[in-house]
Amino acid sequence: MDDPTTRSSNTESPAPDHALEGLDDTPHTGESVEADGTLVEPQAGDFEHHQQDAPQPDWFKSAVFYEVLVRAFADSNGDGTGDLKGLTSRLDYLQWLGVDCLWLPPFYASPLRDGGYDISDFRAVLPEFGTVDDFVELLDEAHARGIRVITDLVLNHTSDAHPWFQASRNDPDGPYGDFYVWSDDDSKYPDARIIFVDTETSNWTYDPVRGQFFWHRFFNHQPDLNFENPAVREAMIDVLRFWLDLGIDGFRLDAVPYLFEEEGTNGENLPRTHEYLKEVRATVDREYPGRILLAEANQWPSDVVEYFGDPAVGGDECHMAFHFPLMPRIFMAVRRESRFPISEILQQTPEIPDGTQWGIFLRNHDELTLEMVSDEERDYMYAEYAKDPRMKANIGIRRRLAPLLENDRNQLELFTALLLSLPGSPVLYYGDEIGMGDNIWLGDRDAVRTPMQWSPDRNAGFSRADPGRVYLPPIMDPTYGYEAINVESQQGSPTSLLSWTRRMLAVRKQHEAFALGEFVDLGGSNPSVLSYKRVWTRPNGDEDVVLCVNNLSRFPQPVELELADHEGATPVELTGRVRFPRIGELPYLLTLPGHGFYWFQLSELGDQGERRSMS
């Protein structure tokens, strides 16, 4: 480990920006220092601005999100690493697919000791990804295609390479002296658990430079910012303003539960943390209406709802939050052939304020997170999905969707149909739309971060670099390798997973009920069939009702649905617009093939529906 602190001796402190790498010729934090010790930081005005369109406040409620790793998507300059320009060049594909919003994990300057979540300058782009100007170009081109962009922002901590931290440790009395949580001993806040139990033994680490301990809820190279300090609170809001001024559509706020610490508490979800989030939200609403905040709080939905804020005003903290426990429950339900794991978690999910929405996902860049399941369920998930110990990380499973489902097309479709129809805005993970595989032999979390597979060409069409220079080898096994699985061949085939996914996104878009409708679980006597309706009342009073019926079993199943409320309506299947028999007073009988599903519109329109389907 190259810890800069051991190198710097005390005669003359190094410049605060000394630990930043590759930013010498780029505007960055601490490029100069004012007489009082204040660091000069880049301002949005230094860059060409992107102009935002008129705000559409509720766009996120019906958006399909797509998580894309800049490093993994497309390499424009042939250095073997994906970059912002590369991503920009692939926006046509994402528009074609039907994606509404990109979610980019951090692309800031960083020593990359925690996948970029260890940010060393909030106002500079990691040089290998490009520049702030490249990012503005990405925003321009994305917005021109109706695609929005949000990114991660870590409020809780910085990298120890951040000039703020360097200034703080070297000059305790200077303007940054109180930016972090310093203490003479390591005895405070003993009730806060250690999150990264595999690598950390304490939340305090001694800094020989300052001669004090600093507080960190995550890695010991990620000191926590001191939110007690008003200057920190303001500085972080200024960071948000910097990107919002450039035109970004929102942020996923990382590790929000941990902003404040307090003696005698576990240091999570403290009232002051919520107060601060309300302040951030008020700033966004006032200065940047239509931009969103998404909370990353890996907790039970009943606790997460706190991060939406006050329901009386439609929510006054984050617009969105991830629903973590739903995902493992979807996996469990299909393995158990039982609707109960899904129905239960949705029943336990509280109502959320009007102006908010859940984000739901099947996979993301992290492992299949198992923090939100019981011990019994976790053992079970390991037994089912992580037969090889290499597939397990901390408390998760690092696999992509297709290999998790043994590449079974029926299950891939069923899972995707669930993702697109359960309550919340779906978040797709790059590559899952073509059924990409993973490489469990790669260390850490890299198994699911291999290059996007564009074509059967060299490096999967991802980069023109020498294969040895590509940041990670593309998947090459016979089943999931890029020669078999790639965008080019699937775009050309109407029956491919990619074409199917695209059609489903389009169908979802046609029915706002999927995004905005109330979720009504239909229960029923067959435990292997999960049926629900989504009921949306349009502003003009018309009802848009979609009915989703999912066979969680590998065997064909009959189901009797209680649809008496819709007596007289005709179910119209949404992908082929085939009309099914009318609903009568008695239970409605359907049969489903193994892992099959149906999406119906319950049309009250009678013959009008017929005419429409014939035209």
């Binding site: 006597s525 067959n526 008695l586």
Partner: protein, 464 residues
Amino acid sequence: MSEPLTTSADDVLTVVAEALPAWLPSQRWFGGKHREITGVRPVAATTLLDGDPLLVHLVVDVEQGDHSSVYQLLVGSRRDQLPDVAASASIGALGEHTLYEASGDADLTATLLDLVVDGADLGDLSFRTEPGAEVEKGLRAHPITSEQSNTSLVYGQQYILKLFRKLVTGDNPDLRLHRALREVGCTHIAEPLGSVTGTLDGEPATIALLQRFLPDAADGWVMATTSVRDFMADPGSDPGELGGDFGGEAERLGAAIATVHADLDRALGTESVGQDDLDATVSAMAERLARVAAEVPELADHVPALEQIFQQVADLPTPLDVQNVHGDLHLGQVLRTLSGWIVLDFEGEPAASITERQELRSTLRDVAGVLRSFDYAAQQMLVGEEPDESMAERAMVWAEHNRSAFCDGYAAVAGSDPRDQEVLLRALELDKAVYEVGYEHANRPDWLGVPLASIARLVSQEDS
């Protein structure tokens, strides 16, 4: 002859009583299909809804030789515009009026719920809600489609009204135990909301029970057989490692049953019984064994061993605790809902005869019932198939896995493991299996192998 403008309840009763001997055997809830009906005696008729259509409640005494049982019927009468009910519902005609079994006629059955909410008294019948229960009027109903010995109507996915087909005087255990459990706040029942009571031979008789309907429910038998299906499709797997494992559910079910037992104890108390009761229990078991063995030769080989196992019960230390129990517990009597397992139908054994009423009211009786049910669930796929040794063995593995998970769950709540009371538990289980042998022999010969296989296994465990 001139047509009466309306029909009266008594006219309907007369016509129906005449038609019943031919009609009754076609009804699936009719319990006496095996004996010839020698006479039907009208007992009472009450008009629930007057005019055309007309809805009458009838009570008839069905005589089958020296045996007689009292049944209730809901009969509709309409001149035209017959509702869309099954052909088998049609009973006869009274002039231009068609008389039909009316539980499928949603226009008429809506009346029943309204009467309960109104607290009506009509003829002998009194309709009541339970104290403090809030029930909404004006919902339409349809009968549930599952195989049933009673008739249940579901009102707007909110309530279920069970009409007891066969009427008996005195305390109805289903109503009594539901009330007691509601009283102590038991969370594992479908809340009782109301009832209908009538009179029979001058004594009160429960006609119907209204309960909260649980639309999210799936019954335990379906849940368990889903798991079996999955297990059987993957030869070579271990049931605990299987995707469709039922072990977790079985354990939670065990915990729920133990909780219900504790609640019944809290509500109605525990008694203790002495040697006389044990002796009576043993002789009831032995009598049943003798009766069934006389009819089913396949049982003969096991008789000595069974007798010996039953006899051991007499040597148990006394006094022995007994309390109110479910009495006919099996996987078809439990529902999995989003909030956990629910126990239904506290009527006790449907065909309880005098001897059976002397049976020991031990909580182990319910445990034994569920254990038997796991055996049935495991083996149900083998019924009617070519015998297959390895499949039979797999069925056994599944059953054992879930039986033991169930006992674990029960023990965790009860504080004592039912398996520790080995002698009584085994005897109760075997007694139940002997009853099943008799039942299957008479009704479903294909299934005879299921209880016989269990008896063979339990008896051989005893030997070793």
